[in-house]
Amino acid sequence: MKYLPLVLANLGRHKRRTILTIASVALALFLFASLRTVVTTLDAGSRFGGARRLVALNATGLVFPLPLAYANRIKAMPGVHSVSWANWFGGRYGDGKRFFANFAVDPVSYLAMYPEIVIPPDQKQAFLQDRTGALIGKRLLSEFGWKLGQNVTLQGTIFPGDWTFTVRAIYTPTDPAIGDDVLIFHHEYFDERIGRAGIAGWYIVEIDDPSHSPAIAKEIDDAFRNSSSPTKTGTEREFQASFATMWGNVSLLMGTIGLAVVFAILLVTANAMMMSARERTGEVAVLKTIGFSDRLLFGLVMLEAGVLALTGAFLGLGGAKLLYKATNFNAAGFLPGFNVTAATLVLGAAVAVVLMLASGLVPALRAARLPIVQALRHVE
C-alpha cells in the first residue's frame, strides 16, 4: 500500500490519457457485459419450460395452425393431465414502434398450467369473466400508462381489423424468461372474430409424469401422422430451444464482436501503457539508482496497468449492471429477463485481469530489464 501514492501519481501525470484509457476499458467491458447478457438471456429463454409441459405444433411449421378439435383427442390420451392452446396474434399498438408479444389463449386451462404467471385473485376473476378482457404484463402498464378497466385497441396484422380489449388483470412473472410485457386475451373471442375457424397455433400438454414425455409426445404425433395437420411434439424446453437456435448465429456474432472489442481495447491500453513507460525511462533509471529492484519496478508497472484495467472494469461492468437494472431493459420485449448475471460480472472481471496482464507485461518487463547506465545517459 505504501507504493500506491507513487502509482496514482504516475497515473495522474497525463490525466486526460488516463481518463480516456479507463473510459476505453469501461466501454469495452460495458459492451462485453451487454453482448454476453444478450447471449445468456437467449440461453435462459431456451432453458425455460416446466418439466411436465409438452408443446405440440404443426409439423410443417409454427406458422401453420392445428385444428382446435385435437384438444379433446389429446386430453383423452393416457398420462395427459390437461391441455391448453394458444394462438399468436401479432397485433400492434399505436404506431407499432414498441413491439410486444400478444396472443390468444384458453384462459382457464392456460393459467392453471402456468403458475409462473402471478395475478391478484380478484383481477384474475375479472379477466376470466370478460371475453374481451386482456391480461397484461406490468411493464406494459408502466410503458403505455394503461390502467385497469381501460380499453386498449390493437391493430391486427395477421388477423386484420381493430381489436379492442379491456385491461382486466396485470400479471407479474416469477420466471424472467416469461417476460413482463405480454398481452394475453381470450381464444374464444379470437375464434369468434375470425369466423369460428377453429384453429390453435400450438397446444400445451400437461402430463402426469415427466419421465413419460417421450412416449406421450410420440403417441400424440402418431395419432395425427396421417391427418392433414400432423403434429410435432416435444418438451416445452425443446420448443423454447428451437426459438433460441434461430438466434444461434446471432449468439456467435455477439460473442465474436465482444471479443473483438475487448481485443481492440487491449491494444489501446497496451499502447497507452507503453507510451507511459517509454516516457519514464529516465525516471525508472533514477528509481533503480535509488535502490528499487527490477522485481519491484515490474510490480509497480503491473499495478498501474491493474488500476487502469480494474477501474475501467468496475465502471463498465458496474455501469452495465446498474443501467439495465434501473431501466428494466428488455430490448422492447425481445429479451425478457435481461439481467447482467453474476457469472458475466466474474467473467468480465477475469477479462479485466487478462487485459491488465497483457497490457502491462511488456512495459513492466521493459522497466525491469532497463540497463541503468544506458538509461541514465538519456537524462544526464
Binding site: L6, G12, V286
Partner: protein, 228 residues
C-alpha cells in the same frame, strides 16, 4: 581506513564494432569520512568510475569494494538492496520525479525500508530540515528553483543515512549562488555528519571545497592533490 577500494580495474565498452577502453588498470582508495572531488575532461571516465562505485555498472575485470562488499560480485537484486542501504546518489539534472512533491521525492528511498509511516515522516522532515527546505515539503519540483531542486535531491540522497554519497556534477546546472549553497551544504554534511562524499565536477570552485581532488585523464589517475 578506505571505504572504497578499487583494485586493478579494467573497463571497456563496445560501441558498434569499436571497443573503447575506459580504464586499463585503475586502482584507488577513498577513505571513510573523506570529501573527494573527481575532475577531468569529458570522456576521461569520471562518471564511469562513479557508476562502478555505486554498483550501477560492473568492471570488466578487477574489483570494486565499498565498505568491504565486493560490488562487482553482487546480483542485480542484491545490488539494488545494497544501493538502497549504502549509496546516496545525486545527479546533475536533479532527477526528481515531477509528479511527486519534495516530501514524496525525499521519501522514496525510505519506501524500500521497513520503517513505519510515522518514522518515515520523521526522517523526511529531518532531511528536509538539514537542506533548509522544511517549508517546501509540499511543493512540486516545477515550483522549486534549480538550487532548491538540487537540495531536495541531496535530501533524498541522505534520508536513508547512506554510507557513501556520490554526486555527478551536482552544480552543473546551477547559478553561482545556488552552487555555493549546495557546496556549503555538502561541506556541512561531510564535516558535521561525517558523510563520505565523492563528487564529479568540472568546476574548480566546487573542487576547492573538497578535501582531496583526483584527476582522471583518458582513464588514468594522473594526479592526486590534497586540498588544505
Amino acid at each position: 581506513m578506505a571505504l572504497v577500494e578499487i583494485r586493478d580495474v579494467y573497463k571497456s565498452f563496445q560501441r558498434d564494432t569499436q571497443k573503447i577502453d575506459v580504464f586499463t588498470d585503475l586502482s584507488l582508495d577513498i577513505a571513510s569520512g573523506s570529501f573527494t572531488a573527481l575532475m577531468g575532461p569529458s570522456g576521461s571516465g569520471k562518471s564511469t568510475l562513479l557508476n562502478l562505485i555505486a554498483g550501477l555498472d560492473k568492471p570488466t575485470r578487477g574489483t570494486v569494494r565499498v565498505g568491504g562488499a565486493d560490488v562487482g560480485a553482487m546480483s542485480a537484486g542484491q545490488l539494488a538492496a545494497w544501493r538502497a542501504r549504502n549509496i546516496g546518489f545525486v545527479f546533475q539534472s536533479f532527477n526528481l520525479l515531477p509528479v511527486l512533491t519534495a516530501y514524496q521525492n525525499v521519501e522514496l528511498p525510505l519506501l524500500l525500508t521497513n520503517l513505519s509511516k510515522k518514522d518515515r515522516a520523521e526522517r523526511v522532515r529531518l532531511a528536509l530540515d538539514v537542506v533548509g527546505l522544511s517549508d517546501r515539503a509540499d511543493h512540486y519540483p516545477r515550483q522549486l528553483s534549480g538550487g532548491q531542486e538540487q537540495r531536495t535531491a541531496i535530501a533524498r540522497a541522505i534520508v536513508a543515512d547512506p554510507t557513501l554519497m556520490l554526486l555527478d556534477e551536482p552544480t552543473g546546472q546551477l547559478d553561482a549562488k545556488s552552487s555555493q549553497e549546495v557546496l556549503t551544504l555538502l561541506q556541512r554534511l561531510n564535516n558535521e555528519f561525517n558523510k563520505t562524499i565523492v563528487i564529479v565536477t568540472h568546476d574548480a570552485h566546487a573542487a576547492d571545497r573538497a578535501k582531496s581532488v583526483l584527476h582522471l585523464e583518458k582513464g588514468d589517475l594522473i594526479e592526486k592533490a590534497a586540498v588544505a
